[in-house]
């Protein structure tokens, strides 16, 4: 059975300078895929995710998520959860406050905050200010917050960057759990072992262009992988 398309990208582009830009790229993502976006620093991975998450305004192209045009921001935000590389939480407030604020803005029931705290094992930290949490815990809060509106697509920008082994393993488990719940995931990564263990599909960006798009088995046998990491 072919799953329906969750994300449709046509000719999306963004230029910062002539050297640093994301060329017009096209791809589509089917429901339930877990895609790793890889590439060197400055290849355009974060730019792509920020464009899909609405953090950046594209210079051109179109994006549709679950059939909704990305320019319809207020509708699209319920379809996409974006977890940035550095958690953008209100550090002077508690974990519970951070989740409650977003739940109120999403008009999600207050029980959704309790559910998120429980599912992400954040109950012991509910009254802790975010600023005192470790990076791994902040990342957990950030992921929990992105799922409050129950989006169909989750974007994670280097979710394990700067985390130690235990925290990395924890985030991997979280991603597997979120994926198992039927959500479509796109994440960026520099770690081959992470890509190998998680991804069902790999997209490689190089100097702003999409140079590979296929399954992990094909990717790890390809010249693209060898050129990228040797």
């Amino acid at each position: 059975m072919v799953c329906p398309v969750t994300l449709q990208v046509q000719g999306i582009s963004k230029a910062y300078t002539s050297q640093r830009r994301l060329l017009a790229i096209d791809f589509s993502v089917r429901e339930g895929e877990l895609i790793a976006v890889v590439g060197h620093n400055g290849a355009g991975k974060s730019t792509l995710l920020k464009l899909l998450g609405g953090w950046l305004v594209p210079d051109g192209g179109e994006v549709q998520i679950d059939g909704i045009d990305q320019r319809n921001r207020r509708a699209i935000v319920r379809k996409v959860g974006f977890v940035p590389e550095v958690p953008n939480l209100f550090e002077c407030f508690s974990v519970e406050y951070n989740l409650s604020l977003f739940a109120r803005l999403f008009r999600a029931p207050s029980s959704s905050v309790e559910t998120a705290l429980r599912e992400f094992s954040l109950l012991p930290y509910r009254r802790s200010k975010v600023r005192v949490l470790s990076k791994g815990l902040k990342q957990r809060v950030s992921i929990a917050r992105s799922l409050l509106a129950n989006p169909s697509l989750v974007l994670l920008d280097e979710p394990t960057s700067g985390l130690d082994f235990d925290m990395t393993t924890e985030v991997h488990e979280l991603l597997k759990r979120i994926h198992a719940s039927g959500k479509t995931i796109l994440f960026t990564s520099h770690r081959p072992e992470e890509i190998k263990s998680l991804a069902t599909r790999i997209m490689v960006l190089h100097q702003g262009a999409l140079i590979f798009d296929g399954p992990p088995s094909e990717y790890f046998e390809s010249d693209t992988h060898r050129n990228l990491y040797t």
Binding site: V57, R78, V80, G81, F82, P84, V86, N88, F90, C92
Partner: protein, 344 residues
Amino acid sequence: MIRNVIIMTLHDLAIACQNKTLFLILFIPVFVFVALQLVDENEAVDPNIRIGLLEQGSYPPAMLTTLEAANATIVVTWQSNEAAAMQWLKEGHGDGVLIPHGTAAQHCALIVLEKTSLKTVTIVESINALQRALDGKSNYWIAEIHPVQESGLQRQMLPTWILMLVLMVGFIILPAQVAEEKEKRLLLGLLQTPIRETEWLLAKVSYGIILVVLAATLLHLLTAFDFSIARGLNYLAFLIAGGFCFSALGVCVGFLCRTQASARTLGVLFYLPLLLPSALADFSKPLHSVAPWVPSYQFYQPVKSILLQGGGVADFPLDILALLGAGIIALFLSYQLMRHRWLM
């Protein structure tokens, strides 16, 4: 829409509690109150009295003779007309002006800068003493006392402090807060929710207005400033209009900066040029001619009139429109910058 604006306004107030902004806002009225107390304590009274008389005025002849005889303590200056005498008084060259009162040339009205000052008491007591010495009567030549302004130095300084508060919220607090939300990607996080850009902007402006009204209320409570309801409402209208205008301008300044540090710098660059011409317009001719072109003057002048001369919103319709217009333009610019994720 209102719900989201309220949620975000309360959120901003919670941040103000956390990052001590609220303490700053409440500290300033206390500081102003203490400063005003010190000003009053240091008020010195010159023993010599400078009285102005009108050249064409018909005064009680006995009073003129007595005043001339007392030239060691009372210096009489003749003024060509009432307007010139008022100007002379306001410029601080004299302590009071005696103007003929009624048609019988028996009484005078005493015009002073402030009714409840030591200087006024000295003038009245000195003239009454002269009259008692002449014919044994007192409280006869001076039939009425009129102050030019309702009160003294404390009240005269209030509009300047209020202007300072409003500009501080607008150009020191808000730009830094907006830039911080941009710098830490908090605003982008909020834009991942269904909140509209306009709701976020209105929440920021509401937060600015609340800070302004809160600080002004505390300042007036500390200085025991008595308001009639009508006058209070006129004053509140200008506080809200000024709070709206300068908060909107402050948000716009915040959007022009990438970091908190640059927002603070740019904020001060706006703050001082807006504060000084308006606050010092009464003391300098060049500043007086420049001030009307500065937006803060459209706030300062009406507030001064309402607090000191009994003016109202009806006397300053263009000023309130100018404040609201400037605020709306600033909000529109901020909206455009926000939509294009400017420097985010």
